[in-house]
């Protein structure tokens, strides 16, 4: 790693920290823009109770004081109690949901990566054959299908019409359909990405050199071509996580998975503001960190790449 790479990494980390700060700040001020403040409930409350509530949550203090206390709280993962689920802390609800969601997301990401790379490499090596065409048509269709539609169609086909898998995602077998739903889009994307970068690499001079030297076909594909073709796939790690996070919001809804996405969506419909704030910050930080990691990894793996 040369000085330039290190400088890039430092700059990138600073940008990430700044982004997280922006997210936290934006969340705070947006929530304060809600008419009547986040603690107004539908039920009529007497002015005395309202005052006491505001005092309890520090809402009677000046905005800037509120902001600084909020900021220090967030840094310690203190998001306060949920407004709608009595007696539960936001962070506990998030941690609870994360257990399922992380499992779901990791399996989906892993499968998408493996299947996508294999399909993409196959399509590139068998370019312009029927196999290549079929792979490209299918992946194009999947990329154009919103996750909630994919999920609903899978639900109809495999749970309601044929009962192959349970419709409810609370059991292990029930996780099969949610995983497939989450996986198909990133898988298709990775397939297309791998195919085009593989085609690019196969046209390079060093592949011709290897062939001329008499290196075996398998060694060229795995040792030379695939290794280099996979580098662009690294850049997709960040967007893939972002997709899986937003996808899980609807997928967990469709299959009734008890994950963070489901509790986030129900907090939106319930107007559970502390939950919305907490979950947004946690998920946003996760995505920003993943983007950071994939950018740095990309730079370290291939020092030829010069990013601005």
């Amino acid at each position: 790693m040369n000085a330039k790479t290190i400088k890039y990494i430092v700059k990138r980390i600073l940008l990430a920290i700044f982004t997280v700060w922006v997210v936290i700040t934006v969340t705070f001020f947006i929530m304060h823009a809600v008419p009547g403040g986040p603690f107004t409930s539908e039920k009529a409350v007497s002015p005395a109770v309202q005052k006491a509530m505001e005092a309890k949550y520090g809402l009677d203090k000046p905005l800037f004081v509120q902001y600084t206390t909020y900021l220090t709280d967030v840094l310690q993962f203190k998001f306060g109690p949920s407004l709608k689920q009595r007696g539960r802390m936001v962070i506990d609800i998030i941690a609870d949901g994360m257990k399922t969601s992380i499992k779901l997301g990791l399996i989906a990401a892993f499968l998408a990566l493996i299947i996508g790379v294999v399909l993409g490499a196959f399509a590139a090596l068998r370019r312009n054959t029927v196999l290549d065409r079929v792979i490209m048509v299918i992946t194009t269709a999947f990329v154009s299908m919103p996750s909630f539609i994919m999920g609903s169609l899978l639900l109809i086909l495999f749970a309601i019409k044929t009962h192959v898998f349970p419709a409810n995602g609370s059991t292990a077998a029930g996780l099969v359909l949610p995983v497939i739903t989450l996986m198909l889009y990133p898988m298709s994307y990775i397939t297309r990405l791998t195919r085009s970068s593989m085609l690019d690499v196969l046209g390079q001079d060093y592949i011709r050199t290897a062939k001329a030297k008499g290196v075996s076909g398998g060694r060229i594909i795995f040792g030379h071509a695939l290794k280099n073709a996979l580098i662009p796939v690294i850049t997709y790690f960040g967007p893939m996580l972002a997709y899986i996070v937003t996808g899980s919001l609807v997928v967990e809804q469709i299959f009734a998975v008890q994950g963070i996405g489901r509790s986030y969506v129900s907090s939106i419909t319930n107007r559970d503001y502390t939950m919305i704030m907490g979950t947004t910050i946690v998920l946003a930080t996760l995505i920003v960190v993943m983007n950071l990691v994939s950018d740095i990894l990309y730079k370290v793996v291939d020092p030829r790449i010069t990013l601005e």
Partner: protein, 354 residues
């Protein structure tokens, strides 16, 4: 003919020292008539069967969404079988495709012609076909206008950043960097949730109330967040085009600023901008349907494809076709727009293969 032969024989005549006429001048600047770029692209586009089929599908869907509601005998918000002062006729609710309610059957028996409910009716007795058509109209309109907003803001900020350069450019680009690294979907959900309550009341009684606070907040969200890639693109285009050799050549040949901008910068920029706007439309439709699915989309009773799909999820066991229909329409629209956008890109800008 004779004249030229004569000039060849004799050395030079006085006519050769006449100042060049307009025609001759135009002949000199003939820079491969600028029709080539466009016509070339159109020719390539026409050859691309996938893109042309997608284009025809988009046009057909758009025309259908615009025209069908004009003459269709049912309205998207009217609940059939509900006449004020009379008991609700439940036989209108949840009709399966091409079936009729009891009153309608009586009318048919009496020899009257009743327009069929092609996709049946929903739980409130609303004709589902017209709801799908109307939902398509809403989704297309949202996609189109959201992309327009993105185009205008991105074009403005990007070109200012590119032209002015220096500190202004640096500052704008830092802001772009930050907005770009924000997790967009989460921010969209957050903004849509809050804007719905924040601007919902202030819209009462205005024209905008018909569109609904959710759609307005969707547009605001697009205006706030999605312009960044367009701004980046425009800025990059302007920066690189300014330094192109042909611009230098034109300048060296005495072309003025206006000429360079009109003849060189704009024609070369337009294709890239149009293409990325075209590719933005399916993105916006995607986002709208996603938000509608989460209950943050259009206000009831107005349908959008996303909200129709979301509503259908409740009765998925008995009426799966109600989900399949809007799902297919969304997928078809997004797929054709994507394929057509790709075709445009291949035809007009082979360099841009991102």
């Amino acid at each position: 003919m004779e004249a030229t032969q004569e000039t060849e024989k004799t050395a030079l005549s006085a006519a050769d020292f006449e100042p060049a006429g307009q025609e001759e001048k135009a002949y000199m600047v003939k820079m491969r008539p600028q029709t080539t770029a466009f016509q070339d692209g159109m020719r390539r586009l026409r050859k691309n069967k996938v893109a042309m089929v997608s284009f025809i599908i988009i046009v057909l869907i758009t025309i259908a969404a615009l025209v069908i509601p004009i003459f269709w005998p049912y309205q998207y918000e009217s609940m059939l079988g509900m006449t004020p002062g009379k008991p609700v006729d439940p036989s209108f609710q949840n009709l399966s495709p091409f079936s009729y309610s009891t009153t309608e059957q009586a009318r048919i028996a009496a020899g009257e012609k009743v327009f069929p409910h092609i996709f049946g009716t929903d739980a409130s007795g609303r004709d589902y076909f017209i709801r799908v058509v109307y939902g398509t109209r809403i989704s297309l309109a949202v996609g189109f206008f959201a992309s327009l907003i993105v185009l205008v803001i991105g074009l403005l900020v990007g070109s200012v950043s590119g032209y002015v350069g220096g500190k202004v450019d640096l500052m704008i680009m830092r802001i772009v960097d930050i907005i770009y690294s924000l997790p967009d979907m989460l921010m969209v959900i957050l903004l849509a949730t809050v804007l719905k309550t924040a601007i919902g009341d202030s819209l009462e009684g205005t024209v905008l109330a018909r569109i609904g606070s959710n759609i307005i907040s969707l547009f605001i969200v697009f205006a706030l967040l999605y312009w960044v890639s367009m701004a980046r693109l425009v800025r990059g285009q302007i920066l690189s085009l300014r330094e192109q050799e042909y611009v230098l050549a034109a300048k060296a040949a005495g072309a003025r600023g206006g000429w360079v901008i009109r003849r060189h910068l704009i024609p070369n920029c337009v294709s890239v901008i149009v293409i990325s706007t075209a590719l933005q439309i399916p993105n916006a439709i995607f986002t709208e349907s996603y938000l509608s699915f989460l209950g943050l989309g259009v206000n009831a009773p107005m349908p959008s494809l996303g909200s129709l799909a979301s509503d259908a999820l409740n009765g998925i066991n008995s009426y799966p076709y109600r989900l399949v229909i809007p799902a297919l329409v969304i997928s078809l629209i997004v797929l054709s727009l994507n394929l057509f956008g790709d075709g445009l890109r291949d035809a007009f800008d082979p360099k841009l293969n991102g």
